[in-house]
């Protein structure tokens, strides 16, 4: 059974903006899928439909076989607590310490009050430090997030999502604000998490070359429609131009190829 299945999903914002149109695909457990497409093509909307930060207008989305488009509040919380999310701008609470931000990954698993006052068990703290060690952030654990570099912040973002014990991690342009070497560190961590912990990853990416290097499957979307779904080897140059709606020579990837 696929972990995630989109069936004819459409999303229209404010009755005018068609962000997704008739999107169907499914993702098996342990896959590492990259979604590519130009700005405004609907990549962020697609990811946010999975954890219901955005409500799809039509169609059904099956998570572990259960349709989540009609989930109630409790059900949504249940979905979210096992689904990690990583953001382009990291979305950390900058004025809190790294360890506190990592522990935020447990909020969905705790009672409202314990979470609100920040009461975490010894076990949870231990897990948090173990994850920080894995990501090379032990030294920074008590620093405030606004003292970190972009690459370090994104590693805190990854640590927070790992604290959720996720089955699935959604990454919305995880490396778009990073320099190439930090971007590589982040991509290597995500790839490693996918392989060693068998966590399914879906990534929105801007960089076609990165997507082709790291993932075995690429989904290309243009104007809210899937125009490519397959392995990177079959993704021809002309297909890339179709996805980005550009002509020969206009894309940076054209240079050097």
């Amino acid at each position: 059974m696929p972990v995630l299945k989109f069936q004819n999903v459409s999303k229209v914002y404010d009755n005018v903006t068609k962000a997704l149109t008739d999107v169907s695909f499914s993702v098996e457990e342990g896959e590492f899928v990259s979604v590519i497409g130009p700005s405004g093509s609907g990549k962020s909307t697609l990811l946010r439909c999975v954890n219901r930060l955005v409500d799809a207008t039509q169609g059904s989305i099956l998570l572990d076989g259960r349709d989540i488009t009609r989930a109630d509040k409790n059900e949504i919380r249940r979905i979210r607590k096992r689904t990690g999310m990583i953001f382009q701008h990291y979305n950390l609470v900058d004025r809190l310490s790294i360890i506190e931000n990592v522990l935020h990954g447990r909020l969905g698993h705790k009672s409202a009050l314990a979470g609100a006052v920040g009461h975490f068990t010894e076990r949870e703290k231990e897990d948090a430090f173990r994850i920080l060690a894995k990501l090379g952030l032990t030294e920074q654990a008590y620093k405030r997030c606004d003292e970190l570099s972009g690459g370090q912040k994104q590693r805190v973002g990854i640590a927070r999502s790992l604290m959720q014990e996720p089955r699935l991690i959604l990454c919305d342009e995880p490396i778009a604000s990073l320099d190439p070497s930090s971007a590589k560190v982040i991509m290597d961590h995500l790839s490693d998490i996918n392989k060693t912990m068998n966590i399914t990853c879906i990534l929105n990416l801007h960089q076609v070359d990165v997507a082709m290097k790291y993932s075995k499957r690429i989904i290309g979307i243009t104007l809210g429609r899937i125009v490519y779904d397959g392995p990177p080897e079959r993704l021809s140059k002309s297909k890339i131009h179709e996805i980005y709606q550009s002509s020969e020579g206009e894309l940076i990837t054209d240079a050097g190829c």
Binding site: L53, K81, T83, M85, R95, H104, L113, G115
Partner: protein, 274 residues
């Protein structure tokens, strides 16, 4: 310059240059302001020259009459007592209003996504409270409470509540929208999002605004005190009407001293928390 040919650099044709546009705008604004000034002078029958000539006279009158004399200093304990009363009232009003404003800001901000209609309602109510000046609130409340400390309290409270609700909403939207999205995505509920995300990220701004409103309210409560016959404003009014200008002057000086003191303290606090 080697390498750069001396040909004319190409400039866009058939378009008005931004420099010309800017010059034109400046000229128009200057003419407009002058015209408004001239018209309002004529309408209000106000002569600018006379106004400026009157300044030295006014200053010397104040200097002659408002200098605290011996009688004024003998009243200093009374003045100090009222001054402290006014300061405490301002702090109390601001803190009460801030607590209420924080709750309504949490309802009013789009970040928490509680309910769009409640949010809109809160923003309209806050705009109303804010746009009625505190002095007008005091005059309106005089009818229901009379010349009473409650009148002053509520006048300042309503205005402060309106201002703080708006600024808190803006602060929350600005500084915590991103982290709130992330916390919601982890499955955190509203209470957890508020305490773990919104409050930690917006606390310094919130405290800074509260301090600012305490300063403002100490200044404003003087004027409101004149209307409601309470606090330091009443003292000033009393001495002034008795033509005891020395004591009235001492009141003014002590208000200024208090405001400067409060400003200094709040700047220290701001530095410490930012």
């Amino acid at each position: 310059m080697p390498g750069v040919s001396m040909e004319k650099a190409p400039i866009p044709e058939n378009q008005t240059s931004v420099f010309v546009v800017r010059k034109r705008t400046f000229t128009l604004v200057f003419l407009g302001v002058s015209a408004v000034f001239a018209i309002s002078s004529v309408v209000t029958d106000y002569n600018v020259i006379d106004g400026f000539v009157a300044i030295p006279r006014a200053v010397s009158w104040i200097a002659e009459n408002f200098v605290p004399d011996k009688k004024a200093w003998s009243r200093f304990p009374n003045i100090l007592e009222k001054l402290i009363e006014t300061a405490l009232l301002s702090v109390a009003v601001t803190v009460c209003a801030a607590v209420c404003a924080l709750f309504s800001a949490l309802l009013g901000t789009k970040t928490t996504k509680i309910n769009p209609w409640i949010g809109r309602g809160v923003r309209i109510v806050a705009a109303f409270f804010r746009n009625v000046p505190d002095v007008v609130w005091a005059i309106l409340l005089l009818f229901s409470f009379g010349q009473n400390i409650l009148t002053g309290f509520f006048a300042l409270f309503f205005y402060t509540f309106g201002v703080l609700t708006r600024t808190f909403i803006e602060t929350i939207d600005e500084v915590s929208a991103n982290c709130v999205e992330a916390l919601r995505a982890t499955g955190a509920n509203l209470l957890q999002t508020v305490f773990q995300g919104i409050l930690p990220s917006s606390a310094p701004e919130i405290v800074s605004w509260i301090l600012y409103m305490i300063e403002t309210n100490i200044r404003n409560s003087t004027l409101i005190g004149v209307l409601t016959a309470t606090g330091i404003g009443y003292m000033f009014d009393l001495y002034y009407k008795r033509m005891d200008y020395g004591s009235a002057g001492l009141v003014v000086i002590s208000i200024v001293a208090l405001v400067i003191l409060i400003e200094t303290i709040s700047n220290q606090i701001r530095k410490a928390i930012m």
